[in-house]
Symmetry: C2
Subunit: 211 residues, 2 copies
């Protein structure tokens, strides 16, 4: 909420934070406006209808996230020989930008990732919204995984990717809340630990199923 950012961006920030927590239908235009410190009608003026605000929020950071992930993958690819990067490296490239995003002081990225979790887990728009923005990138990673796991059946790779996607999604959704089960030993927002555990976990799964 720095005063430097424009009102139109403050609206997106507010919408992002609210949608991420309460979902599309759990948020009203008035709540967004109130949090942004603007009039109710302003969101309509800038973006159109409520669903357009939601889409604007969802698309705002997508490109940045995609290029960030892709460049991490490309780095590994140019460092590797003709056999391409390892499974572990590919997974790490897929997760690294997110870790950095969560490490940032700005909590906007945290909210955005929680929003992605909400969308990805939503039976209604889940598939279509995610596909339109992230399929291209995901295909890139799938291709890299195929190369790293030449013996794998294609379906197995997709099922494994779904496991990866699910693990990520739940982690994003819960960042910032304390895990009761572990008596506070694991904080959901301790992304460092989650990240460190997830990479070998997922890589081992891929290797076992597709190796």
């Amino acid at each position: 909420m720095p005063k430097s950012s424009s009102k139109s961006e403050r609206i997106l920030d507010a919408a992002e934070a609210l949608f991420a927590i309460r979902g599309y239908d759990g948020v009203t235009m008035r709540q967004i406006a109130s949090r942004a410190g603007v009039d109710v009608a302003l969101a309509n003026y800038h973006f159109g209808r409520k669903i357009d605000v939601f889409n604007a929020v969802f698309e705002r950071r997508a490109d940045l996230l995609n290029t960030s992930r892709l460049s991490a993958l490309r780095e590994y690819q140019s460092d590797a020989g003709p056999e391409g990067p390892s499974v572990e490296q590919i997974i790490e490239a897929f997760l690294r930008p997110l870790k950095m995003a969560l490490g940032a002081a700005d909590e906007g990225w945290t909210n955005y990732l929680a929003l992605i979790a909400y969308v990805n887990n939503s039976p209604v728009w889940g598939k279509s919204m995610m596909s339109s923005l992230f399929d291209e990138l995901v295909s890139e990673f799938i291709a890299a995984l195929k190369q790293a796991l030449p013996k794998a059946r294609e379906e197995d790779i997709y099922w494994c990717y779904q496991n990866l996607s699910g693990a990520l999604t739940l982690t994003f959704a819960q960042t910032g809340r304390i895990d009761k089960l572990s008596n506070g030993k694991c904080r959901s927002d301790d992304l460092e630990a989650a990240y460190a555990t997830m990479i070998p976990f997922i890589a081992a799964g891929f290797t076992r199923v597709c190796g």
Copy 2:
């Protein structure tokens, strides 16, 4: 929608199906009543406020699910020696009842699992609602995993469980929708395949991280 079931149960069925797809705020009492073929006021009469309808739906099948999962685990435990069941067996016990539920002709269980996915992924009530109904059972499985992985650090087991939970959650959320990415090769509702892949995938992850 068999006529045999009482109106109060028809309300729960309708609410279950709708909440699972559109979430709590995306469903109106009138939609529930309409789908159940009853008057709007009847849901209030039977259950109280809207949130109480939601809770009633969420709690209705929880016990059955818990006992089903637990008995699968107990079976493996009594068949195993003093070292207890293997990681793979424990995971399988955790998933098997769900597979059976999804194989049932009744689509009520499918809806219920999608609802669990919605709740578990919700930053708002996720942790608290899941804990109140499933923590006891999960602790049982965690204990079994500890025994099967004696060298594991406790936090690692919890982080691995979170990966398992996330993979499951996403699968439940998407049952019935077609996966675009794989060009229809993987149908999200092909639980047989998802199930077959997930067990070795998750087991390998646990073994690698906690072995």
